[in-house]
Amino acid sequence: MKSFEYTITDPVGIHARPAGVLVKEIKKYASAVTVKKGDKAVNALKLMALMGMGIKQGDTVTVEIEGADEDTAAAAIEAFFKANL
């Protein structure tokens, strides 16, 4: 399992559009991706669940990637967070 922490810089946080883009990205990989904030954790493929976490600018989230392609996926997803969120 791979994981990284990231502090959101996008002004609206992980809301509909960013969340949609994120889900689209994560779908490219076979690994299961979990996004954690505090004691809440959700499957990052679930758009509604992701939005429901109410992640805002300045919040720090932990992203866990687990699966066959977790190495490539972790690198790509972390890069995606930095670029888009």
Binding site: A16, A19, G20, K46, M48, M51, G52
Partner: protein, 610 residues
């Protein structure tokens, strides 16, 4: 543009939890005043945003909506019709329940309806009258004092002029003018008429000859039923006349004709029928009192004659008995019957949980023990009926005892405790009272149960408009249009993310309304912190309804989400109320995105209004 009263009223109703949540509605010069059953159903923010509502505050348990002079009454009328259509106020529910009663129940209920509002007057007077009349029986000198005379006057006012109170209350019950009702009541005890209590001693009764009617000039003191009937007639007549008499002359023609016709019919038909009835009752009572079994029957039916107001004539029977044999054997029957009502009423007083009933029942029972049973009968026993019947049983048993042991008194006009000094055998008389009250008390205690206040009729569904247009269909189900407006293709939504389908397939809606409703029965899966978007799931469909484009930047201003995560919602249930003007003012598109976020995983997804 003039305010759309109906729309305003409808929106108010929608935001207070529907008509079923309204206990009462009233208005003053500027405000709509509502008493709400469940305040948690009131959406204050949405209410303030209703077009036409200028402000809102809560005071004295009322929700007050400032609407404005000249418009509040119109909104109020629409509000009544809007809420009345789907659900009625509690009083209306009660009235509706009453209208379903069988006719005989309605008839039995009427005296109670008439008497309940005047209870304070007759309870006070009954108790005082009982006490004032009891004192001289134990302390005869008191009966000669000015104090006695004065207190007697005070105490018996309500009873001496009872028809006036009954008439006014009846007019209210039947919807007539209460002042016209008062006139009818006053006329029936007019001082120019011979008092009904004293008429028995007269040899000849003065009579009017009106056409072929011979009307005895006797008042209706102590009467109840003829007064209620007279005012019922008056109210029907008055209401009928208001409808047919031209408005210009309505003010003088209607009251004039109403009073004249009612009076004439009362004195020529209602009155004589009752006096014939009274004579039969009197003869029957005299006969019944003459043997033991008869006394049992009389003890049982005695309270019915009180209900009919016939008991005032029994002085004639008593006086006759004393003249013939020197012993009034009627008194033990009346005492048993009255004391049984006391016992029944006392049992209710001790058993009942409703504080209001309790507070009426105690003084009423006390008054009944002193021989004045009207408060107990009309205020408690007859209203609940079962205690009344138990009282009848007690009266019958007590009367039998009295008759078997030859109880009696050389005086007349008293019953219950005040009669103790006069009776021929005090210990046996006390036993009779104890039996009567005891039987009634025990029966009530065992048989009578306090009626639980009826749960308001099943709360009518709040006025939900169920959407009918399907906007997305797939194997898992269909999505009905959640906002009124023009449905556009997903790629026409003025936002790249939505248009590109990255959030799933769906449609856009250019709203013509400000309310998002559930597009299917489901569970709320997420609510955006800024209130402008809501997720809803059902049967594997994950749906996002997002109001406006970039509206997250409004941080909730102009949006009210009515549900929270985890709520079960029904098709058509309001989810979000939004302010289109505010969205426009903030420079955003108000297009609502309706998207199946997991459309990739669903089969046969087909978008577009159908």
């Amino acid at each position: 543009m003039a305010l759309d009263y109906r729309k305003c009223a409808q929106e108010i109703a929608d935001n207070i939890g529907g008509g079923s949540n309204v206990i009462s509605a009233a208005h003053c010069a500027t405000r709509l005043r509502l008493v709400i059953a469940d305040n948690s159903k009131v959406n204050k923010q949405a209410l303030e945003n209703v077009d036409g509502v200028k402000g809102m505050f809560e005071s004295n348990g009322q929700l007050q909506l400032i609407i404005g002079t000249g418009t509040v009454n119109k909104v109020y009328d629409e509000f009544l019709s809007v809420t009345g259509a789907s659900a009625a106020s509690k009083d209306d529910v009660k009235a509706a329940a009453a209208s379903k009663m069988p006719w005989w129940k309605k008839i039995l209920k009427t005296p109670g309806d008439v008497f309940v509002p005047i209870l304070p007057a007759i309870v006070a007077s009954g108790l005082m009258m009982g006490l004032v009349e009891a004192i001289p029986k134990f302390w005869p000198a008191f009966g000669q004092t000015d104090w006695y005379a004065f207190l007697d006057l005070v105490a018996n006012t309500a009873f001496a002029l009872l028809p006036v109170l009954v008439a006014i209350s009846s007019a209210r019950v039947f919807g007539g003018n209460i002042f016209l009702g008062a006139v009818i009541g006053l006329m029936m005890v007019h001082p120019a008429l011979i008092n009904a209590w004293t008429v028995g001693g007269l040899d000849t009764i003065p009579t009017w000859h009106l056409w072929f009617f011979n009307v005895q000039q006797v008042g209706y003191q102590g009467h109840v039923i003829p007064v209620i009937l007279a005012v019922l007639l008056m109210s029907k007549l008055e209401k009928g006349l208001h409808k047919i008499v031209p408005e210009m002359i309505d003010l003088f023609v209607t009251p004039l004709v109403t009073v004249l016709v009612t009076s004439f019919v009362t004195f020529t038909i209602i009155g004589p029928i009752f006096s014939i009835l009274e004579n039969y009752v009197l003869e029957g009572a005299k006969w019944l009192a003459s043997f033991s079994i008869g006394a049992v029957v009389m003890g049982a039916i005695y309270p019915w004659t009180v209900v009919m107001g016939l008991h005032h004539m029994y002085n004639v029977i008593e006086a006759g008995m004393i003249a013939q044999t020197g012993l009034n054997t009627w008194m033990p029957i009346a005492s048993a019957a009255n004391f049984a009502q006391f016992g029944a009423c006392l049992a209710v007083a001790l058993k009942v949980k409703n504080q209001k009933t309790k507070s009426v029942a105690f003084p009423s029972s006390l008054s009944a023990s002193l021989g004045i049973t009207e408060p107990a009968i009309f205020g408690i026993n007859f209203r609940f009926m079962k205690p009344f019947l138990c009282g009848m049983a007690g009266g019958a048993v007590g009367s039998l005892f009295g008759a078997l042991f030859g109880l009696g008194a050389p005086v007349y006009g008293v019953t219950g405790i005040p009669a103790i000094p006069a009776v021929n055998n005090v210990p046996l008389y006390l036993v009779e009272l104890a039996i009567s009250a005891g039987v009634a008390f025990a029966l009530v205690w065992m048989l009578w149960k306090e009626e639980q206040p009826q749960a308001a009729a099943a709360p009518a569904a709040p006025a939900i408009e169920v959407p009918t247009v399907s906007v997305i269909r797939c194997a898992a189900g269909q999505v009905l249009q959640p906002v009124k407006g023009n449905v556009i293709a997903r790629d026409q939504i003025p936002d790249d993310t939505f248009a590109s389908g990255v959030l799933g397939d769906g449609v856009g809606i250019q709203p013509s309304d400000d309310k998002v409703v559930a597009p299917f029965d489901g569970t709320i899966s997420s609510v955006a912190e800024s209130q402008h978007a809501v997720g809803i799931e059902s049967n594997g469909m994950e749906m996002l309804i997002h109001v406006g484009v970039d509206t997250v930047n409004m941080h909730g201003d102009g949006f009210t989400c009515l549900v929270k995560e985890g709520d079960q919602v029904k098709l058509g249930q309001p989810l979000i109320i939004f302010d289109r003007a505010k969205i426009k003012a903030a420079g955003y598109s108000d297009t609502v995105a309706v998207l199946l976020t997991n459309s990739d995983d669903l089969e046969g997804v087909d978008c577009g209004a159908k």
